[in-house]
């Protein structure tokens, strides 16, 4: 057993913390949260220069040859600092899909551009129900004159408003097995008939509605096997769940750190409120939740990274962390009192992300049911 980060991961963690605290101050987070785009070209470019977009991808596509576990370390820090923008959509959702299912040419072209920071991409998966089951896929693609034609509406597509391309998951065959007959298409965001509408959400992360009306996609842009897309999506959803958990771990850690330092400074009844056991016990519960979340998430990330069966580990991590980050954020708010409930304060940024993170890629109930299945129930 080796339950510590290696030297490079420690270095990555440290340099990411330093870089983000300087280059992504909360002022910028607020501006981007409140903006339409949610994207800072300047920050994006600097992150690309550090090689972050290519961190988990092979060197032959311009990546750094790192692992999903390395990416987890980075996402932990990105969650700590709440980095707005399409990093998750581009790297986790799209990059891994291309890596797993893309043709050599698609990888060279598109994954290469992702690694260099020259392309923003996202995954348009969920339909009107917003659930992660293949039966709920309601967009369709039909073959027509050497092209595919896509129709339907995609909901809660992250960062579609700034994406250059999107990977659209559509039904291509009606089947008694809903996992059969699903295909993935690489679609130019400027395609005729494709319309992106930014959704207003409590998380202020840029979720969009993408409507597709007779959108033509060249045959070359099929990613992976025709009708065989769902196994790829299942694998991507596992990675997305563990990566989102890593972001939430960072967010929970930041909430704890902020609340503890406030409890040391804020004086009421002639003493720092942190001297009251009620507050101390809140903090104790928070640190326990943060550490548990981190270790269970890193175990899931390691398992997935090693290519071992990881359904159980990933679902455990996402279920636990979804609940735990919320618990931590709520307790932090309780410690901050009324000031934490204002727009001027940073705490609400984390409270929003906790809910958004919980919903994304399966909430706690969804993943507990997965665990029940894995238990053989």
């Amino acid at each position: 057993m080796d339950l510590g980060l290696n030297e490079e991961q420690e270095m990555l963690k440290k340099s990411a913390r330093e870089f983000l605290s300087k280059e992504c101050p909360k002022k910028l987070v607020r501006e981007l949260d409140e903006s339409e785009s949610g994207l800072s070209q300047d920050l994006w470019k600097k992150m690309a220069e550090l090689g972050w977009m290519g961190l988990p991808f092979p060197e032959k596509y311009g990546g750094n040859g790192g692992s999903l576990l390395d990416l987890t370390v980075l996402l932990d820090e990105m969650g700590y600092n709440i980095v707005p923008g399409p990093f998750f959509s581009t790297v986790v959702l799209s990059g891994f899909t291309l890596l797993e299912a893309g043709s050599d040419k698609q990888k060279e072209t598109y994954l290469g551009k992702i690694c260099s920071g020259d392309m923003i991409m996202t995954l348009a998966l969920t339909g009107m129900e917003g659930t992660y089951s293949p039966a709920s896929l309601d967009a369709e693609a039909k073959s027509s004159g050497g092209n595919y034609v896509l129709n339907g509406t995609k909901m809660f597509v992250p960062d579609a408003n700034t994406a250059d391309y999107m990977l659209v998951v559509a039904r291509t065959k009606k089947s008694s097995d809903p996992e059969d007959g699903v295909s993935i298409f690489l679609v130019d965001a400027k395609s005729t008939g494709l319309k992106v509408t930014l959704l207003k959400t409590l998380g202020r992360d840029k979720l969009c509605e993408v409507s597709l009306k007779d959108v033509k996609v060249p045959a070359d842009n099929l990613v992976g096997k025709f009708n065989g897309g769902w196994p790829v999506i299942k694998s991507i959803l596992r990675k997305a769940a563990v990566c989102k958990s890593a972001e939430m771990v960072g967010g929970a850690q930041a909430s704890l750190d902020m609340a503890v330092s406030y409890a040391k400074e804020r004086v009421q009844f002639n003493r720092p409120i942190g001297a009251f056991q009620a507050i101390q016990h809140y903090c104790a519960n928070m640190v326990t939740d943060v550490d548990g979340s981190r270790f269970i998430t890193y175990k899931a990330a390691w398992t997935e990274s090693e290519g071992l069966p990881s359904d159980m580990e990933v679902s455990m991590a996402k279920a636990w962390t979804s609940d735990a980050f919320k618990r931590v954020a709520v307790l932090a708010h309780q410690i901050f009192g009324a000031i934490g409930f204002t727009m001027d304060h940073d705490m609400h940024l984390y409270f929003r992300r906790a809910k958004a993170g919980e919903i994304a890629y399966g909430d706690a109930d969804f993943h507990r049911e997965n665990v029940a299945v894995q238990l053989g129930l």
């Binding site: 057993m1 001297a275 056991q277 903090c283 550490d291 129930l377």
Partner: protein, 398 residues
């Protein structure tokens, strides 16, 4: 990172499992009603069973009772991760294993005791010959251990002890008390306390049983009336007892029955998969599925903290926070496992061990009562949270 057991760790795990299955006293696992996390139904705290003694000595011969001690003192020179693996397997099979003497007294003597003391006590502890009981708490000194009033007054080569201890689990079946008493009444309690070993056969000791909520005799109250303890039994320096005690807490960090949780959870999953209610298997009920999944995740959280703590100890990192976290998490889990189990079982769940229709031999009914003790013994949840906040996060007491 690598969450897998290494080849050597895996081999050790198999070796321990094979030994337990072959050598465990006949019917012991059936008789032993130990509930993970609880203190009320630990077989070894109730009676001294010659078969169990024999089994422990066999473990001692393999160096397992003291496996994480240095080799020169008869230890196994093994890692804390290996010790964690050992506990996991031992508690999974409900086997007897390490106790106060091997987990607390021995390591403290090795660290602070004189050479003479080491020669006197260590070999017998290594072999599994000695049983100790913890003489810490007093009627007026529970969570506030510094408030102890039992006195030990120097008289030539002896300490003369007067006072009362309470809770002393298994004092009536043990050989010696591992005891703290006040030796300097003028000093601050933290600086006026001495740690020593007291032989149970010394005149002036009276042991009275306290029957716990499970109906078992594990606790005792113990009275000391002019009990003369040789000064050679003092551990380390006079008046340093509290310091040694705090350090000794490090040694018991990994005393968690992880395997016991795993085993009882497996029982519950099996029960849900076999039992029908209203013509439907319990395992098909959405609420029961969710609750079992929740328990599985709670157990996994405990496991990651458990191995992380062991790994930190092996790497000379100080698992201050992690140790309190795991105590907190597992003892809450002890209650939740019993409570959730009984709720899943419905009316049959309340049937006591020995009842004909009791599911899982009534272990969960007993566990429901026993789990009250988990969050209280060895530092209540509140004390753990104080430690986490004050020592871990640096919040001030005043």
């Amino acid at each position: 990172m690598d969450f897998r057991l290494s080849e050597a760790e895996n081999k050790f795990r198999q070796e321990v499992e094979k030994f337990i299955l072959a050598e465990m006293p006949q019917g012991y696992a059936e008789r032993d009603l130990y509930w993970p996390g609880g203190y009320g139904a630990i077989g070894e705290f109730e009676i001294r069973d010659p078969e169990v003694e024999k089994f422990r000595r066999k473990m001692g011969e393999r160096g397992w009772l003291t496996m994480a001690w240095p080799k020169e003192y008869g230890g196994g020179g093994r890692s804390f991760v290996e010790q964690a693996i050992f506990f996991d397997i031992v508690s999974y099979h409900g086997a007897p294993g390490m106790d106060v003497s091997t987990l607390i007294s021995g390591p403290t003597i090795l660290r602070f005791g004189s050479e003479e003391m080491k020669r006197e006590w260590i070999p017998r502890i290594v072999k599994g010959d000695l049983k100790f009981w913890l003489a810490y708490s007093e009627p007026n000194a529970g969570s506030d251990l510094a408030a102890i009033q039992t006195r030990a007054v120097e008289d030539g080569d002896f300490l003369v002890v007067n006072g009362q201890k309470i809770w002393g689990s298994g004092a009536h079946v043990a050989d010696c008390g591992w005891m703290v008493a006040r030796t300097d009444m003028d000093a601050q309690p933290y600086k006026g306390t001495t740690l020593f070993i007291v032989d149970n056969k010394t005149p002036g000791i009276t042991i009275r049983p306290i029957i716990n909520i499970d109906g078992f005799h594990s606790f005792n109250e113990v009275f000391f009336d002019n009990v003369r303890v040789p000064k050679a039994n003092v551990v380390g320096e006079m008046n340093m007892g509290f310091y040694y005690l705090m350090v000794a807490l490090d040694f018991e960090r990994l005393v968690i029955s992880m395997g016991g949780f795993r085993r009882r959870f497996e029982d519950l999953v099996k029960y849900a998969g076999e039992t029908k209610r209203n013509g439907k298997l319990l395992s098909r009920d959405a609420r029961i599925r969710a609750r079992l999944a929740e328990l599985a995740i709670d157990i996994e959280i405990a496991y990651v903290l458990y191995y992380r703590t062991a790994w930190m100890m092996d790497n000379n990192l100080f698992p201050n926070i992690e140790a309190s976290e795991i105590k907190l998490v597992t003892t809450i889990l002890s209650r939740k496992l019993a409570d959730t189990g009984l709720e899943i079982m419905g009316p049959c769940g309340q049937l006591w061990p020995g009842s004909k229709y009791a599911p899982i031999k009534g272990r969960f009914a007993l566990g429901y009562l026993d789990s009250l003790s988990a969050v209280i013994g060895a530092g209540t949840s509140e004390i753990q949270r104080n430690i986490l906040a004050q020592r871990g996060l640096g919040l001030k007491r005043k």
